[in-house]
Point group: C2
Chain length 158, copies 2
């Protein structure tokens, strides 16, 4: 596992704050999420940590969400995904492929985040809404699916 030790230290501290322990099961969940680098479904987690029972995995995810280590992501299909919280990784957006369901992380450009900050200010003044966080999901076709589609079309033509 190529996860630097500060991650585990941070997670342990957050769990300790609510009198919880950083056990091997929870560590397994955190490592799997950290190594993936993109949101994982419960199915993904089950495959990457096969010794971890489903019920424990769910419970760990709940605990880790409650102490701010994990965030749940609603993808475009019927399954939630899970990722490390943004203050542990970094702020990012999601590209969601409507063909294969995959979720890809992207870091926004500074220019766009500046525009976003301005916009959130506008919202606060016009709607009295105090924004804490935002999430931007871009729906479309990933590079792999686009190529696959092109290949299929070429095959039909030939």
């Amino acid at each position: 596992m190529m996860v630097d030790e500060t991650l585990h230290g941070l997670v342990e501290r957050r769990l300790r704050e609510v009198s919880q322990r950083y056990t091997s099961g929870r560590k397994a969940v955190v490592e799997v999420l950290a190594n993936a680098g993109h949101p994982l479904s419960i199915e993904d987690i089950g495959e990457l940590a096969p010794r971890l029972p489903r019920s424990s995995a769910y419970r760990h995810l709940v605990d880790l969400q409650q102490c701010g280590v994990v965030r749940r992501v609603a993808a475009n299909d019927d399954y939630y995904r899970f990722e490390l919280a943004e203050d542990i990784t970094e702020h990012h957006h999601h590209l969601m492929c409507t063909l294969c369901g995959k979720v890809i992380d992207v870091t926004p450009t500074p220019a766009f985040e500046r525009a976003m900050a301005n916009y959130l200010d506008d919202l606060s003044t016009s709607n009295g809404f105090a924004s804490i966080d935002h999430r931007l999901d871009v729906l479309g076709a990933c590079a792999t699916c686009r190529q696959r589609k092109l290949a299929a079309t070429a095959g039909c033509a030939g």
Copy 2:
């Protein structure tokens, strides 16, 4: 119901394209969504159209999604919401109150949408991702909940 007739005409056309009828049950769902002006949960729909059985409501929502009239929205709680598709209403973002769960629609400023368009172009060139649609959800506290919280704090202090 203050829904202009073009909406119903449009929905009927879309259903007809897939050999389906615009029946009273489907019309009830569309009217409820149109009048609400913000995404509704199945519970909301049940309250606003009490004569409509749950199983029929779900089925209508599926049918209407398939012909592009309705869109499913993942809120911040455990329940999906439903709204009319953006090409029927207009492009908008969601303010999601993390305290009461309410979802509020907002129309983006032109400046922000310009920034968004540029950003999506960037993504397409840097990731090979062909974006079709995007959704921006802003999480925070709505005006009502903020006031309630202020009042509660004042009450404690006094």
